[in-house]
């Protein structure tokens, strides 16, 4: 059980398409969160709002990106069958 959990959560390998997806989510989502934080603070003239909005959005993104969710594993690699040589 513990080794299974270790494989799923700690190793958390995902497939190639999932890796690309995680990469795009990171760059677009985090940049978007930064822009939202800046604009909200600038419009309300309150820097605390920027800090709160950015920290909440960045924490949400952390959970989305880091854990090996099923939508990162929809394109598993199919290996060729082993050929018998003798």
């Amino acid at each position: 059980m513990s080794s299974h959990l270790q494989t799923i959560i700690l190793e958390g390998s995902i497939d190639l398409v999932g890796q690309q997806l995680a990469d795009s989510i990171t760059s677009y989502y985090v940049s978007f969160a930064g822009i939202i934080g800046f604009l909200s603070g600038f419009i309300s003239q309150d820097i605390k709002l920027t800090v709160y909005i950015c920290s909440v959005l960045f924490t949400i993104g952390l959970f989305v990106v880091v854990f090996p969710w099923p939508f990162y594993k929809r394109h598993p690699l199919r290996f060729l069958k082993h050929e018998k040589t003798n």
Partner: protein
């Protein structure tokens, strides 16, 4: 992005970059705001009751008996335009400038830290200056001093900026009338 720790590391790395860019944007935008979109605060100062005493000044590391000047002042200033979203606090001080050899002297006679916009409207009447002035030569010789209000804007993120108000007030150090002179 293959394993959990790779994703954690890459995510945190990108968040750090974005936070740095965000801080740079906040700093630059507030400097622009301060330079081009902030009206100059109105300041009016008047200094009166300048009195000269002879003796050891009440504080400082100067053990010499010499002339020192104390005074009271009236001050009206509205510094609330200086508070934008990146202003943490203001350090406001009254500086007296008077000629000297080989360099002109600049002495702070009163200061205050303002931490919120609602405290930024100063209206002081007949207030005693916090600090006395004593000259390096020990004598004032009836020189004329100009008092102006200056401030530092201390931001949450970015550069500390220095500025001063338009209004200034002049006074002349009166001659020493104390009987204990010399």
């Amino acid at each position: 992005m293959f394993s959990t720790f790779q994703r954690l590391q890459q995510y945190c790395g990108y968040v750090t970059s974005v936070v740095l860019c965000l801080m740079a944007a906040i700093s630059v935008s507030s400097l622009i705001q301060q330079a081009y979109f902030t009206p100059t605060p109105s300041v009016s100062i008047s200094v009166d009751n300048v009195s000269i005493k002879y003796g050891k000044p009440p504080y400082g590391f100067n053990y010499k008996r010499q002339e020192y000047a104390s005074m009271t002042f009236d001050l009206d200033a509205d510094l609330s335009p200086l508070f934008n979203w990146n202003t943490k606090q203001l350090f406001v001080y009254l500086a007296a400038t008077y000629p000297g050899k080989p360099y002109a002297n600049k002495v702070v006679i009163w200061d205050e830290i303002i931490t919120s916009k609602k405290d930024a409207v100063l209206s002081l009447r007949n207030t005693t200056a916090d600090y006395v002035i004593y000259d390096v030569t020990g004598k004032f010789n009836e020189r004329t001093a100009a008092v102006s209000l200056e401030w530092n804007v201390q931001p949450h993120v970015g550069l500390l900026t220095y500025d001063k108000g338009e209004g200034r007030s002049k006074f002349t150090f009166p001659p020493l009338t104390d009987a204990k002179k010399n």
